[in-house]
């Protein structure tokens, strides 16, 4: 059975999700920061965590953004193959939702049109980055992640050698987090992609950041690696705000894909302490 969905429903969903994601922190993030406050030993680190928790409360109560950088709007859509969109283009509908959400929600517009030769602000935070997947069924799952620039800037990709193995991945993660220091607003969340191609490994790393904090990879071996990498990252001493402390990262997610026998791509996408993800099923 074909199910018709008016693209206006997509626009409305994206608009509402943009505002909600940017003003209401997820339960997993709140809980993770509260637990971190108990674990953190550094007095200045604790002070930073207290500010972040208080900040989430203020943002929600006063309906203002958790962070002034309301990000590049990254959108993932899982579209059921029995769905037929009516009344216009899906891409236009998504961008209209971003435009309306960022205007009505008083969110910052951070996108410039021509990145190289004429960087003038588009004025409405469009275009969004849109990823679509076709799946079975007749529903549409939309996930929206506003991604801030500061943490994105600290992300890295490396085409390693197959012989570098697990140790190489570990070293690259630790090096990336060390180089980032306090820049990406720790405590951070670390998305790691391994395998695929040069472009796909970055997609894997970013996509891993859609997980809830504490949600482990389904593969027990990869789940164990996530845990051990996170423990090592938290020995770096960077701490909340980069002022020194135990809690440098709240979590680390690993996503993998088959690779070519000659290649070993690894990507580390850093997420800030204002990790914002909203999902809706239509």
């Amino acid at each position: 059975m074909t199910r018709e969905i008016d693209v206006k429903e997509i626009t409305d969903a994206v608009k509402e999700m943009s505002i909600e994601a940017n003003t209401v922190a997820g339960c997993d993030l709140r809980k993770a920061l509260a637990v971190s406050l108990e674990k953190e030993e550094s007095p200045l680190g604790k002070a930073v965590l207290r500010q972040l928790l208080e900040n989430q409360k203020i943002a929600e109560e006063e309906k203002i953004p958790i962070c002034q950088d309301t990000g590049f709007t990254v959108i993932y859509m899982e579209i059921g193959m029995d769905v037929r969109f009516t009344d216009g283009s899906l891409t236009d509908a998504v961008n209209r939702g971003v435009r309306e959400g960022y205007s009505e929600g008083f969110l910052r517009k951070s996108i410039v049109r021509d990145p190289l030769t004429n960087p003038v602000n588009t004025g409405d935070n469009t275009p969004a980055i849109i990823h679509t997947d076709l799946v079975s069924g007749s529903s549409v799952k939309i996930t929206l992640m506003p991604k801030g620039g500061g943490a994105e800037n600290m992300s890295r990709i490396k085409m390693m050698k197959p012989s570098d193995g697990v140790r190489g991945v570990r070293d690259f993660i630790l090096e990336t987090v060390s180089l980032a220091g306090g820049n990406p607003c720790p405590p951070i969340i670390i998305g790691v992609g391994v395998g695929g191609t040069f472009d796909y490994v970055a997609y894997l790393a970013k996509r891993s950041l859609l997980r809830k904090i504490g949600e482990r990879n389904r593969d027990p071996e990869l789940a164990a690696l996530e845990k051990s990498f996170l423990i090592e990252v938290n020995k770096l001493g960077i701490g909340p705000g980069g002022v020194g402390g135990r809690i440098t990262a709240l979590d680390l997610f690993l996503e993998v894909f088959p690779r070519h026998i000659a290649t070993f791509p690894v990507a580390v996408n850093i997420q800030c302490n204002a990790a914002r993800v909203k999902t809706r099923l239509l």
């Binding site: 200045l44 208080e54 820049n183 090592e232 020194g244 302490n273």
Partner: protein, 186 residues
Amino acid sequence: MGKPVKRVEAPLTESVIKLLRTGDEVLLSGTIYTARDMAHARLVKMIKAKDKLPFEAEGSVIYYVGPSPARAGRVIGSAGPTTSYRMDSFVSSMFDAGMKGMIGKGSRSEEVKKLIKENCGIYFGATGGAAALISGSIVESEIVAFSELGTEAVRRLKVINLPLLVVNDCYGGDLYTEGVEQYRRL
């Protein structure tokens, strides 16, 4: 720890800066100015052309921030710090123009740390991600230059008890280096 929080007035004087040490918690009140990437490029062009700056630069504190738009009835939107290293190449000219303090997040280049010492300046860290909380310390906001840059315009802010940490003091101290050394176990 357990040190008292220091109350500081902006614009800054050298005698005040000399009382501040890396790791101090500070509540800053007074008048400060916002500038980030695009505004800095323009300001430094003006400084090099010996043009008059659109604000009183002597003793000034520059806050690296691009606020979100203000809702009706609010002074400003959320207004947390942006990453400071992107402004490192502009610091020398800004000191030449009279700037004394900077507010941002993240570490500075060795060159900037040296300039801070040489110019008896100071670099404060604000908590990245605490943008809604910080906006509560801002009681007035007015665009003084480059309004066409939107969020990147230069704003005069009146702040009361803006919560900051001293990252780089005028004696060469660096909170990020010292803090990480203290807690590193790898």
